[in-house]
């Protein structure tokens, strides 16, 4: 029997062809759906993406070189020529801030990764094995936490000198305890759940248990902490550079730009306002994104 073709039927067929195939609901897709519905989280994500693009294309965006000193345009107020003004050496603040994005994002990422693979991993081990390993690791973390972050950073800088690796090390040591505690909690929550016991009952071994059950179920929470730590790292880095134990001039790091401007706070406040704003916006964006991720991955945590 041949198919009957009428204009009306063709219309319906066309419509059906256009209709999207129903999408399977997996836990990951459900999370993304919740994230998409959250406008503040999307704003956070948007700003973060924008900052990443700025960091990548910094040489194309920045109108001047970030370290060229031009004594003919010292201490210029923000204007058409220099959007954010110039500093006491005639360097364009806008260009310095644009290049600073690279330092802030990349160093923050390194710090967080470093903290995750030290503190985070220790926390996972403590949470998984429990007992004595747990006690020993967590008490060591407590000792770390009892040393003020700035003091530790100053010690590291005093011994090893200024520089990016030293800065990363300082922030890593300072964030390790919190990272350890968070990841331990994430693993403990999964370890105590019924499906772990049920999997043990059908004979799932230790390796498969960790790889197939514990990590997939804890990874959502860990991502949340990871993103949150990016914001914390940026704050720490800027404050350390500001007090002079972080990066050294003439690196266009936001905290350093702030430091440069602090002598002229009353006469040229714009020198501090713009880098401070950048730090604020960046941290705010990461925090918004982190909160959105938290709600998306774990609606019960709210």
């Amino acid at each position: 029997m041949s198919k009957i073709h009428t204009p009306a039927m063709e219309k319906i067929e066309k419509k059906n062809a256009k209709r999207k195939k129903p999408v399977r609901s997996t836990p990951g897709r459900e999370s993304w759906k919740r994230f998409k519905r959250n406008p503040t989280a999307l704003i956070g994500l948007g700003v973060v993406c924008f900052l990443i693009l700025v960091a990548i294309f910094a040489p194309l965006i920045a109108p001047y070189d970030y370290q060229t000193q031009d004594y003919s345009v010292m201490m210029q107020k923000p204007g058409a020529e220099h959007w954010f003004g110039t500093d006491q050496f005639g360097r364009d603040i806008f260009s310095r801030i644009i290049y600073g994005t690279r330092y802030s994002l990349v160093i923050a990422l390194f710090c967080t990764i470093a903290a995750f693979f030290t503190g985070g991993l220790l926390g996972i081990i403590a949470g998984y094995f429990g007992g004595r390993a747990d006690t020993v690791i967590m008490r060591i973390m407590d000792i770390f936490q009892s040393i003020p972050m700035i003091m530790m950073a100053m010690c590291i800088v005093a011994v090893l000198g200024n520089g990016i690796p030293q800065l990363v090390a300082a922030i890593m040591f300072a964030s390790m305890p919190t990272m350890a505690r968070n990841n331990r909690a994430a693993i403990l929550r999964v370890r105590g759940s019924d499906y772990i016991e049920a999997s043990a009952a059908i004979g799932v071994g230790q390796l498969r248990m960790i790889a197939k059950h514990m990590i997939p179920n804890a990874v959502g929470v860990m991502i949340i902490y990871f993103v949150g730590f990016l914001a914390v790292s940026i704050m720490m880095m800027s404050s350390m550079s500001y007090i002079g134990v972080g990066l050294s001039a003439p690196t266009p790091e936001w905290g350093l730009i702030l430091n440069d401007g602090k002598a002229y706070l009353t006469s040229a406040p714009y020198m501090m306002v713009f880098p401070a704003l950048m730090i604020m916006i960046t941290c705010f964006a990461f925090n918004l994104m982190g909160d959105g991720l938290r709600d998306a991955f774990d609606p019960r945590l709210k």
Partner: protein, 322 residues
């Protein structure tokens, strides 16, 4: 057919150490489980039913005592030996079918998992085939293969749990309140499924529940537990007619009868559960028992056979033997 004990439990103890002392979760429990039969274990929350089940599964290591499975003591053998030899034989169905399924796995992955981890020599196709057979066996439609537990109702989730347990071809299954988290209408479906499977495959069940009407429906034998101890064990018919232990009677009088005109005596227990932490050497029910005597407060009653197949741990058992 000759009576054959699949499982013989002797003086099984499981204590947990807590900051306040030893918690006697399962204390000196002994009984036999006949092959192909269902033994219902009843008792109120916290009486050690689930701990008993998990100890038989070796999810907990027993403090002392023997569990002889086909004559071999599985309680004292190293866990690795137990896993190799008996993990597949003794399986468990869990109380909360949602919490006991990994939310990040779909139905087919969940059902494949036990086969995958226990028979390493099987190929991908064979595992998939086996999992599909199991789905059909427990009545899960093929189209649900790629669904995740959160998309399914409680009954279907519990069918996944049953399929997971059955795919290892076990002989003995610990059912830890498998229907208490389900709607009444679905409870019946799952209970019938369990009974059908028992008939087809000759399974033996240890059926843990606090629901007396469920236990009546499914059990051949009934064991009543109170604060970690076995206080009465008898054939299912007996307990509803000739209960001996005062606690069991109180438990039975709590079953609702669907008839508003029928008057009956309700035995209401007074007092709190005594603490299972470092209990005194006396009848543990004495503090709540309306018939308690001095003897009950001084010595612990032993399990005695009052009628053929009917065991009771009560000093006053003769009095209650009607």
């Amino acid at each position: 057919m000759e009576k054959q004990n699949l499982l013989e439990i002797r003086n099984l103890k499981k204590y947990f150490s807590t900051p306040r002392g030893e918690l006697h979760a399962v204390d000196n429990v002994s009984f036999d489980i006949e092959r192909g039969k269902t033994i219902g274990v009843v008792g109120e929350s916290g009486c050690g039913k689930s701990t008993l089940g998990k100890t038989l599964m070796r999810l907990h290591d027993p403090t002392s005592g023997e569990v002889r499975y086909k004559g071999e003591d599985i309680a004292s053998m190293p866990l690795s030996v137990f896993k190799k030899k008996y993990r597949a034989d003794i399986q468990m169905i869990f109380q909360d079918p949602y919490a006991s399924l990994d939310p990040r796995m779909n139905v087919i992955q969940l059902i494949e998992e036990p086969v995958r981890v226990n028979s390493k020599d099987l190929g991908k196709e064979e595992i998939r085939k086996k999992a599909r057979e199991m789905m059909e066996l427990v009545g899960l439609a093929k189209r649900l293969e790629n669904s995740y537990p959160h998309e399914l109702d409680g009954g279907r989730r519990q069918r996944i749990g049953i399929a997971r347990a059955l795919s290892l071809n076990p002989e003995f299954i610990v059912c830890d309140e498998p229907v208490s988290a389900l709607d009444v209408s679905i409870q019946a479906q799952i209970l019938n499924l369990l009974q059908d499977l028992q008939r087809e495959r000759g399974l033996t069940y240890l059926f843990i529940t606090h629901d007396m009407s469920v236990v009546r429906h499914i059990s051949d034998d009934i064991a009543v537990m109170y604060l970690g101890q076995l206080i009465e064990k008898c054939p299912a018919g007996e307990i509803f007619k000739n209960t001996i232990h005062p606690y069991s009677r109180a438990l039975l009088s709590a079953i609702p009868i669907p008839n508003v005109h029928e008057k009956r005596e309700r035995m209401v227990l007074k007092g709190e559960l005594t603490s299972p932490i470092d209990p005194k050497k006396c009848c543990r029910f004495a503090a709540r028992c309306p018939y308690a005597t001095d003897q009950c407060l001084e010595t612990e009653p032993a399990l005695r056979e009052m009628r053929p197949g009917h065991f009771v741990a009560c000093h006053g058992a003769e009095k209650f033997l009607s």
